[in-house]
């Protein structure tokens, strides 16, 4: 049986996630796949994603992942990363407005062309680099990770979650946005744990050891 299936829907660099998982969990069977049966056969699922949401959603629908993912999160731990997280929301403002999978209530919004911080300093978009994540709620995924640890982000759109009970991590960039959400067996993060050195590898290790019973 496959321990972790990393869903491959053809959107760029999905292999980083599998390499990082192999590093934290040597001996576990990690498979990068787009095959429905192989995904359903895995104990855990990682749903990564980079690139533009319209193209991502087109591939997600073509591979019928939009119907598969709601099933998966009922039955096993699922970790969504970056655009993977955004694709799980209701809709995104990117590419002139795109309907997404809608398993998490909320919208994906643009940071804007003139983003400023609390001191009125202009902020660059994309939000690129290492920013702090406030662990606003306790969750097994944060186990052993220092509060306010920095993770690597690269995105121009952010998640505005409708249900604040689902927010387990938040980050400040112009305003406060949802950096991590949870719902039953699902954890969704905006940052890239696979590129976030110690803190990121710790999070992936926590995911490998999480039974989703939260």
């Amino acid at each position: 049986m496959v321990d972790v299936a990393v869903i491959d829907y053809g959107m760029g660099n999905l292999h980083s996630a599998s390499k990082a998982l192999e590093f934290v969990a040597p001996g576990k069977k990690i498979l990068v796949t787009s095959d429905r049966d192989e995904i359903l056969n895995a104990k855990r699922v990682v749903f990564p994603g980079v690139g533009a949401i319209r193209d991502c959603m087109a591939e997600i629908r073509r591979l019928q992942l939009d119907t598969l993912l709601p099933e998966l999160i009922k039955t096993r731990p699922v970790l969504a990363i970056c655009v993977g997280m955004q694709a799980l929301m209701d809709s995104s403002e990117e590419n002139g407005g795109v309907d997404c999978i809608g398993v998490l209530p909320g919208k994906v919004r643009f940071f804007g062309d003139h983003l400023v911080d609390s001191d009125g300093q202009e902020l660059k978009v994309p939000h690129m680099g290492w920013n702090q994540v406030q662990q606003v709620r306790d969750h097994p995924i944060w186990h052993g990770i220092e509060p306010d640890s920095r993770f690597y982000f690269v995105h121009s759109y952010y998640v505005e979650a409708q249900n604040s009970d689902q927010i387990i991590g938040s980050t400040e960039y112009g305003s406060n946005f949802s950096a991590a959400l949870t719902e039953k067996n699902l954890v969704a993060v905006q940052f890239h744990p696979e590129k976030s050195q110690h803190a990121g590898l710790a999070l992936l290790n926590n995911f490998i050891n999480w039974d989703g019973s939260c």
């Binding site: 590093f23 980079v50 690139g51 660059k124 978009v125 690129m128 690269v154 121009s156 960039y173 590129k195």
Partner: protein, 252 residues
């Protein structure tokens, strides 16, 4: 709580080997890019940039193998620049595990290539590298590793590249590169203030104060340096502590 300014060591590689002498006492094979990348990762580098100077096309496959090796052991963002000319070049690097690619000469020959690349792979992985040299009251961009003048104004070019889809600008001052006199702060600031995307300052770092100046005076979002780190003169950790003591937000 805010975004940290990044410190990025840059390595020149030729046929999958580090060139321009990296000298660390704790590294057995300083030409081995995996060893060097691991060392920088341990010291707290925020990203690592590789400049591929491999001349032959066949030799470039070794660069892809190198990126694969590093990406399976070092879990911070990796950028590969040098010789990226086609969508296939980009795909090969991203599939190998690079997070971003640097495009320089090819963008000047065909600005549409940047648009095509950004649409295909997303702006987040497209870094446009600009080599600029002061000419009177403005800066002009150069290609072919700084050897060929283009007549194009650097600031206008940076703006155009962002419109085309660049997610980040790697800005090198040809006047300062290799001098150890510090970044061209006027150039860095002018470009950083002209574009909405992050700007990486490059060229001329000789000491740690230069890194701080690049951020505080040059308004750079990230600072790139090679020799001050390669010869063990300063560690990245020491650089971050020095910057922090001057009020720069860093990841420690």
């Amino acid at each position: 709580m805010s975004l940290a300014k990044r410190i990025i060591p840059c390595l020149d590689v030729d046929k999958g080997r580090v060139v321009k002498g990296v000298k660390f006492v704790d590294i057995r094979d300083a030409g081995d890019p995996v060893e060097v990348a691991k060392r920088y990762d341990r010291e707290g580098a925020d990203e690592i940039t590789f400049l591929d100077i491999t001349a032959s096309h066949e030799g470039r496959d070794t660069t892809i193998d190198m990126v694969k090796d590093i990406a399976s052991q070092v879990f911070i963002p990796l950028t590969v620049g040098g010789g990226i000319r086609t969508v296939e070049d980009i795909r090969a690097m991203l599939n190998a595990g690079a997070d971003k690619v640097g495009i320089n000469t090819a963008a000047v020959h065909n600005p549409g290539f940047v648009t095509e690349a950004a649409l295909r792979f997303g702006s987040q992985c497209i870094v446009v590298a600009i080599d600029a040299k002061r000419q009177g009251d403005h800066w002009e961009i150069f290609t072919h590793g700084g050897r060929k003048a283009t007549g194009i104004d650097a600031i206008e070019w940076a703006k155009q590249m962002v419109v085309r889809g660049a997610g980040e600008i790697l800005l090198t001052s040809m006047d300062r590169d290799g001098t150890r006199d510090g970044f061209d702060l006027g150039l860095t600031r002018a470009v950083s203030e002209a574009v909405s995307v992050p700007v990486i300052a490059s060229g001329g770092v000789g000491n740690l104060q230069h890194l701080t100046d690049g951020v505080l005076q040059g308004k750079a979002d990230a600072v790139l340096a090679a020799s001050i780190f390669h010869f063990g003169e300063y560690t990245i950790e020491a650089a971050k502590k020095a910057m922090q003591s001057e009020g720069v937000e860093v990841r420690l």
